[in-house]
Symmetry: C2
Subunit: 157 residues, 2 copies
DNA sequence: CATGAAAAAGATAAGCA
DNA sequence: TGCTTATCTTTTTCATG
Protein backbone atom coordinates (compact mmCIF):
# COMPACT_ATOMS: atom_id res chain seq x y z
CA UNK A 1 0.00 0.00 0.00
CA UNK A 2 2.35 2.63 1.26
CA UNK A 3 5.39 3.47 -0.73
CA UNK A 4 8.58 3.83 1.24
CA UNK A 5 10.35 7.14 1.47
CA UNK A 6 14.02 7.25 0.65
CA UNK A 7 16.56 9.80 1.77
CA UNK A 8 15.86 12.16 -1.10
CA UNK A 9 12.12 12.10 -0.47
CA UNK A 10 12.56 13.06 3.17
CA UNK A 11 14.98 15.79 2.18
CA UNK A 12 12.38 17.19 -0.20
CA UNK A 13 9.70 17.01 2.49
CA UNK A 14 11.96 18.73 4.96
CA UNK A 15 12.56 21.56 2.52
CA UNK A 16 8.92 22.01 1.53
CA UNK A 17 7.58 21.98 5.07
CA UNK A 18 9.85 24.92 5.77
CA UNK A 19 9.14 26.83 2.59
CA UNK A 20 6.80 25.61 -0.10
CA UNK A 21 7.65 28.47 -2.43
CA UNK A 22 11.02 26.97 -3.16
CA UNK A 23 11.24 26.19 -6.85
CA UNK A 24 11.95 22.70 -8.05
CA UNK A 25 15.03 24.15 -9.66
CA UNK A 26 16.47 25.44 -6.41
CA UNK A 27 15.61 22.23 -4.59
CA UNK A 28 17.21 20.22 -7.37
CA UNK A 29 20.34 22.30 -7.12
CA UNK A 30 20.52 21.84 -3.36
CA UNK A 31 20.20 18.09 -3.73
CA UNK A 32 22.57 17.87 -6.68
CA UNK A 33 19.99 16.73 -9.22
CA UNK A 34 18.07 18.12 -12.15
CA UNK A 35 14.54 19.41 -11.97
CA UNK A 36 12.59 16.54 -13.50
CA UNK A 37 13.21 13.87 -10.88
CA UNK A 38 12.54 16.39 -8.13
CA UNK A 39 9.35 17.47 -9.84
CA UNK A 40 8.18 13.89 -10.23
CA UNK A 41 8.99 13.03 -6.62
CA UNK A 42 7.02 16.00 -5.39
CA UNK A 43 4.01 14.99 -7.48
CA UNK A 44 4.29 11.51 -6.09
CA UNK A 45 4.51 12.75 -2.51
CA UNK A 46 1.36 14.80 -3.12
CA UNK A 47 -0.49 11.96 -4.77
CA UNK A 48 0.41 9.44 -2.09
CA UNK A 49 -0.72 11.85 0.61
CA UNK A 50 2.59 12.54 2.31
CA UNK A 51 1.99 16.16 1.43
CA UNK A 52 -1.58 16.97 2.40
CA UNK A 53 -1.73 20.54 1.19
CA UNK A 54 0.09 23.82 0.79
CA UNK A 55 -0.93 26.73 2.95
CA UNK A 56 -0.04 30.28 3.86
CA UNK A 57 0.83 30.67 7.52
CA UNK A 58 -0.70 33.84 8.88
CA UNK A 59 0.35 35.96 11.81
CA UNK A 60 -2.48 35.46 14.31
CA UNK A 61 -1.71 38.57 16.28
CA UNK A 62 -1.45 40.80 13.25
CA UNK A 63 -4.89 39.80 12.07
CA UNK A 64 -6.28 40.59 15.51
CA UNK A 65 -6.41 37.16 17.13
CA UNK A 66 -4.16 37.70 20.10
CA UNK A 67 -5.23 34.98 22.49
CA UNK A 68 -4.57 31.26 22.46
CA UNK A 69 -6.25 29.13 25.09
CA UNK A 70 -5.99 25.45 25.77
CA UNK A 71 -9.07 23.96 27.34
CA UNK A 72 -9.09 20.70 29.24
CA UNK A 73 -12.53 19.13 29.38
CA UNK A 74 -14.08 16.16 31.08
CA UNK A 75 -17.47 14.86 30.03
CA UNK A 76 -20.17 13.60 32.33
CA UNK A 77 -20.72 10.45 30.35
CA UNK A 78 -18.52 8.34 28.18
CA UNK A 79 -20.94 6.57 25.93
CA UNK A 80 -19.96 6.49 22.33
CA UNK A 81 -22.82 8.66 21.16
CA UNK A 82 -21.92 11.33 23.73
CA UNK A 83 -18.36 11.48 22.51
CA UNK A 84 -19.24 11.62 18.84
CA UNK A 85 -21.85 14.31 19.33
CA UNK A 86 -19.46 16.37 21.40
CA UNK A 87 -16.68 16.20 18.81
CA UNK A 88 -19.05 17.11 16.01
CA UNK A 89 -20.28 20.19 17.84
CA UNK A 90 -16.78 21.28 18.82
CA UNK A 91 -15.44 20.91 15.30
CA UNK A 92 -18.07 23.30 14.01
CA UNK A 93 -16.86 26.18 16.15
CA UNK A 94 -14.52 28.30 14.04
CA UNK A 95 -12.64 29.44 17.15
CA UNK A 96 -11.45 25.89 17.73
CA UNK A 97 -8.17 25.13 16.00
CA UNK A 98 -7.61 21.70 17.51
CA UNK A 99 -9.62 19.06 19.27
CA UNK A 100 -7.87 16.01 20.69
CA UNK A 101 -9.27 13.12 22.65
CA UNK A 102 -6.69 12.42 25.31
CA UNK A 103 -5.92 10.10 28.17
CA UNK A 104 -4.92 11.55 31.49
CA UNK A 105 -6.53 14.32 33.47
CA UNK A 106 -9.00 15.30 30.77
CA UNK A 107 -11.15 13.63 28.18
CA UNK A 108 -10.55 16.30 25.57
CA UNK A 109 -7.98 18.97 25.02
CA UNK A 110 -8.98 21.88 22.82
CA UNK A 111 -6.90 24.65 21.35
CA UNK A 112 -8.76 27.85 20.73
CA UNK A 113 -7.69 31.07 19.03
CA UNK A 114 -9.65 34.25 19.59
CA UNK A 115 -9.31 38.03 19.71
CA UNK A 116 -8.96 38.51 23.44
CA UNK A 117 -10.22 37.51 26.88
CA UNK A 118 -13.62 39.03 26.18
CA UNK A 119 -14.05 36.93 23.07
CA UNK A 120 -12.97 33.90 25.06
CA UNK A 121 -15.54 34.54 27.73
CA UNK A 122 -18.19 34.98 25.06
CA UNK A 123 -17.19 31.64 23.60
CA UNK A 124 -17.44 29.95 26.99
CA UNK A 125 -20.80 31.41 27.85
CA UNK A 126 -22.56 31.35 24.51
CA UNK A 127 -21.09 28.21 23.02
CA UNK A 128 -19.07 25.81 25.11
CA UNK A 129 -21.07 25.73 28.32
CA UNK A 130 -24.29 25.24 26.37
CA UNK A 131 -23.16 21.79 25.32
CA UNK A 132 -24.88 19.05 27.29
CA UNK A 133 -22.99 16.36 29.18
CA UNK A 134 -20.18 18.80 29.80
CA UNK A 135 -18.32 18.07 33.01
CA UNK A 136 -15.31 19.97 34.25
CA UNK A 137 -13.67 22.72 32.17
CA UNK A 138 -10.16 23.96 32.83
CA UNK A 139 -8.59 26.82 30.93
CA UNK A 140 -4.91 27.25 30.28
CA UNK A 141 -4.47 30.79 29.08
CA UNK A 142 -1.37 31.30 26.98
CA UNK A 143 0.81 34.07 28.35
CA UNK A 144 3.54 33.76 25.76
CA UNK A 145 4.62 31.26 23.16
CA UNK A 146 8.19 30.12 22.82
CA UNK A 147 7.72 27.83 19.86
CA UNK A 148 4.84 27.07 17.57
CA UNK A 149 5.52 25.19 14.39
CA UNK A 150 3.92 22.66 12.08
CA UNK A 151 7.25 21.32 11.04
CA UNK A 152 7.77 17.77 12.09
CA UNK A 153 11.07 16.17 12.83
CA UNK A 154 12.12 14.15 9.83
CA UNK A 155 15.65 13.52 10.98
CA UNK A 156 14.87 10.02 12.18
CA UNK A 157 12.29 8.72 9.71
CA UNK B 1 2.62 51.16 11.73
CA UNK B 2 0.07 48.57 10.90
CA UNK B 3 -1.94 48.87 7.75
CA UNK B 4 -5.61 47.98 8.05
CA UNK B 5 -7.03 45.01 6.23
CA UNK B 6 -10.13 45.51 4.15
CA UNK B 7 -12.66 42.92 3.10
CA UNK B 8 -10.71 41.88 0.01
CA UNK B 9 -7.50 41.42 1.96
CA UNK B 10 -9.16 39.10 4.43
CA UNK B 11 -10.76 37.18 1.59
CA UNK B 12 -7.36 36.70 0.02
CA UNK B 13 -5.90 35.58 3.33
CA UNK B 14 -8.76 33.17 3.86
CA UNK B 15 -8.15 31.63 0.44
CA UNK B 16 -4.38 31.36 0.81
CA UNK B 17 -4.47 29.83 4.28
CA UNK B 18 -6.56 27.03 2.80
CA UNK B 19 -4.54 26.54 -0.36
CA UNK B 20 -1.50 28.58 -1.19
CA UNK B 21 -1.09 27.00 -4.60
CA UNK B 22 -4.04 28.91 -5.94
CA UNK B 23 -2.95 31.14 -8.81
CA UNK B 24 -3.53 34.86 -8.59
CA UNK B 25 -5.63 34.45 -11.70
CA UNK B 26 -8.05 32.03 -10.07
CA UNK B 27 -8.24 34.14 -6.92
CA UNK B 28 -8.88 37.23 -9.01
CA UNK B 29 -11.64 35.44 -10.83
CA UNK B 30 -13.26 34.33 -7.59
CA UNK B 31 -13.18 37.86 -6.26
CA UNK B 32 -14.29 39.45 -9.53
CA UNK B 33 -11.08 41.35 -10.17
CA UNK B 34 -8.09 41.20 -12.45
CA UNK B 35 -4.79 39.70 -11.50
CA UNK B 36 -2.71 42.78 -10.83
CA UNK B 37 -4.54 44.16 -7.81
CA UNK B 38 -4.65 40.69 -6.31
CA UNK B 39 -0.97 40.24 -6.99
CA UNK B 40 -0.12 43.55 -5.40
CA UNK B 41 -2.24 42.88 -2.36
CA UNK B 42 -0.60 39.51 -1.80
CA UNK B 43 2.85 41.06 -2.03
CA UNK B 44 1.79 43.69 0.45
CA UNK B 45 0.37 41.10 2.84
CA UNK B 46 3.67 39.24 2.67
CA UNK B 47 5.75 42.34 3.13
CA UNK B 48 3.71 43.62 6.06
CA UNK B 49 3.97 40.24 7.77
CA UNK B 50 0.34 39.17 7.67
CA UNK B 51 1.54 36.18 5.72
CA UNK B 52 4.53 34.77 7.55
CA UNK B 53 5.44 31.97 5.18
CA UNK B 54 4.18 29.30 2.84
CA UNK B 55 4.57 25.69 3.86
CA UNK B 56 3.68 22.17 2.85
CA UNK B 57 1.53 20.40 5.43
CA UNK B 58 2.68 16.83 5.86
CA UNK B 59 0.79 13.80 7.06
CA UNK B 60 2.43 13.02 10.42
CA UNK B 61 1.21 9.47 10.54
CA UNK B 62 2.29 8.66 7.00
CA UNK B 63 5.83 9.74 7.71
CA UNK B 64 5.88 7.54 10.80
CA UNK B 65 5.14 10.03 13.57
CA UNK B 66 2.00 8.53 15.01
CA UNK B 67 1.89 9.96 18.51
CA UNK B 68 1.01 13.44 19.72
CA UNK B 69 1.41 14.20 23.40
CA UNK B 70 0.62 17.32 25.35
CA UNK B 71 2.78 17.79 28.40
CA UNK B 72 1.82 20.03 31.30
CA UNK B 73 4.82 21.12 33.32
CA UNK B 74 5.39 23.03 36.51
CA UNK B 75 8.80 24.35 37.40
CA UNK B 76 10.35 24.40 40.85
CA UNK B 77 11.35 28.02 40.63
CA UNK B 78 9.92 30.97 38.82
CA UNK B 79 12.85 33.30 38.56
CA UNK B 80 13.30 34.89 35.21
CA UNK B 81 16.54 33.12 34.42
CA UNK B 82 14.96 29.75 35.18
CA UNK B 83 12.14 30.36 32.77
CA UNK B 84 14.33 31.62 29.97
CA UNK B 85 16.77 28.76 30.30
CA UNK B 86 13.95 26.25 30.31
CA UNK B 87 12.34 27.67 27.17
CA UNK B 88 15.65 27.75 25.33
CA UNK B 89 16.34 24.11 26.12
CA UNK B 90 12.84 23.02 25.20
CA UNK B 91 12.86 24.86 21.88
CA UNK B 92 15.96 22.98 20.83
CA UNK B 93 14.30 19.59 21.03
CA UNK B 94 13.09 18.68 17.53
CA UNK B 95 10.29 16.55 19.00
CA UNK B 96 8.69 19.67 20.46
CA UNK B 97 6.23 21.33 18.10
CA UNK B 98 4.90 23.90 20.52
CA UNK B 99 5.88 25.45 23.82
CA UNK B 100 3.49 27.81 25.56
CA UNK B 101 3.82 29.55 28.86
CA UNK B 102 0.39 29.34 30.42
CA UNK B 103 -1.56 30.37 33.45
CA UNK B 104 -3.62 27.82 35.29
CA UNK B 105 -2.63 24.37 36.45
CA UNK B 106 0.73 24.34 34.72
CA UNK B 107 3.54 26.72 34.00
CA UNK B 108 4.18 25.37 30.52
CA UNK B 109 2.21 23.36 28.04
CA UNK B 110 4.19 21.51 25.40
CA UNK B 111 3.04 19.72 22.29
CA UNK B 112 5.25 16.90 21.19
CA UNK B 113 5.14 14.71 18.09
CA UNK B 114 7.01 11.42 18.00
CA UNK B 115 6.95 7.97 16.48
CA UNK B 116 5.28 6.06 19.28
CA UNK B 117 5.09 5.50 23.01
CA UNK B 118 8.63 4.12 23.10
CA UNK B 119 9.98 7.26 21.48
CA UNK B 120 8.01 9.31 23.97
CA UNK B 121 9.44 7.45 26.91
CA UNK B 122 12.91 7.89 25.48
CA UNK B 123 12.27 11.61 25.22
CA UNK B 124 11.12 11.77 28.83
CA UNK B 125 14.02 9.82 30.22
CA UNK B 126 16.87 11.06 28.09
CA UNK B 127 15.82 14.65 27.55
CA UNK B 128 12.98 16.19 29.51
CA UNK B 129 13.64 14.82 32.98
CA UNK B 130 17.30 15.76 32.74
CA UNK B 131 16.37 19.43 32.81
CA UNK B 132 17.00 21.03 36.20
CA UNK B 133 14.33 22.89 38.14
CA UNK B 134 11.69 20.62 36.66
CA UNK B 135 8.71 20.20 38.96
CA UNK B 136 5.64 18.20 38.10
CA UNK B 137 5.12 16.64 34.65
CA UNK B 138 1.74 15.51 33.39
CA UNK B 139 1.22 13.79 30.08
CA UNK B 140 -1.91 13.95 28.00
CA UNK B 141 -1.57 11.23 25.42
CA UNK B 142 -3.61 11.87 22.29
CA UNK B 143 -5.92 8.97 21.53
CA UNK B 144 -7.51 10.52 18.46
CA UNK B 145 -7.75 13.90 16.89
CA UNK B 146 -11.03 15.37 15.70
CA UNK B 147 -9.67 18.59 14.32
CA UNK B 148 -6.21 19.97 13.78
CA UNK B 149 -5.78 23.00 11.61
CA UNK B 150 -3.67 26.11 11.28
CA UNK B 151 -6.46 28.02 9.69
CA UNK B 152 -7.63 30.87 11.79
CA UNK B 153 -11.11 32.28 11.82
CA UNK B 154 -11.13 35.41 9.70
CA UNK B 155 -14.88 35.79 9.63
CA UNK B 156 -14.90 38.45 12.31
CA UNK B 157 -11.68 40.39 11.71
C1' DC C 1 -6.97 49.02 -11.23
C1' DA C 2 -6.45 47.39 -16.45
C1' DT C 3 -3.43 45.99 -20.14
C1' DG C 4 0.16 43.60 -22.00
C1' DA C 5 4.96 42.09 -22.40
C1' DA C 6 9.19 39.86 -20.38
C1' DA C 7 11.00 36.56 -17.18
C1' DA C 8 10.52 32.60 -14.47
C1' DA C 9 8.50 28.51 -13.11
C1' DG C 10 5.69 24.56 -13.96
C1' DA C 11 4.77 20.60 -16.67
C1' DT C 12 5.60 17.16 -20.34
C1' DA C 13 8.16 14.29 -23.64
C1' DA C 14 12.00 11.75 -26.01
C1' DG C 15 15.92 9.40 -25.23
C1' DC C 16 19.83 7.39 -22.33
C1' DA C 17 22.11 4.61 -18.40
C1' DT D 1 13.06 2.45 -13.37
C1' DG D 2 14.95 6.76 -12.81
C1' DC D 3 17.82 10.30 -14.67
C1' DT D 4 19.08 14.00 -18.29
C1' DT D 5 18.18 17.21 -21.76
C1' DA D 6 15.06 19.79 -24.32
C1' DT D 7 10.65 21.90 -25.22
C1' DC D 8 6.27 23.80 -24.39
C1' DT D 9 2.79 25.93 -21.39
C1' DT D 10 1.33 28.57 -17.60
C1' DT D 11 2.13 31.76 -14.09
C1' DT D 12 4.53 35.35 -12.05
C1' DT D 13 6.25 39.78 -12.20
C1' DC D 14 6.48 44.38 -13.55
C1' DA D 15 6.26 48.61 -16.57
C1' DT D 16 2.99 51.75 -18.54
C1' DG D 17 -1.44 54.17 -18.87
Amino acid sequence: MSYTLDKIDTQILAILQKDSNRTTKSIAKELGMTTSPVFERIKKLEKEGYIKKYVAVLDNKKVGLKLTVFIGITLQGHTRSYLEKFVTEINNFPEIAECHRVSGNYDYLLKLIVEDIQAYETFLISKLTLLPYLGNVQSLITLSTGKETNEIDLSRV
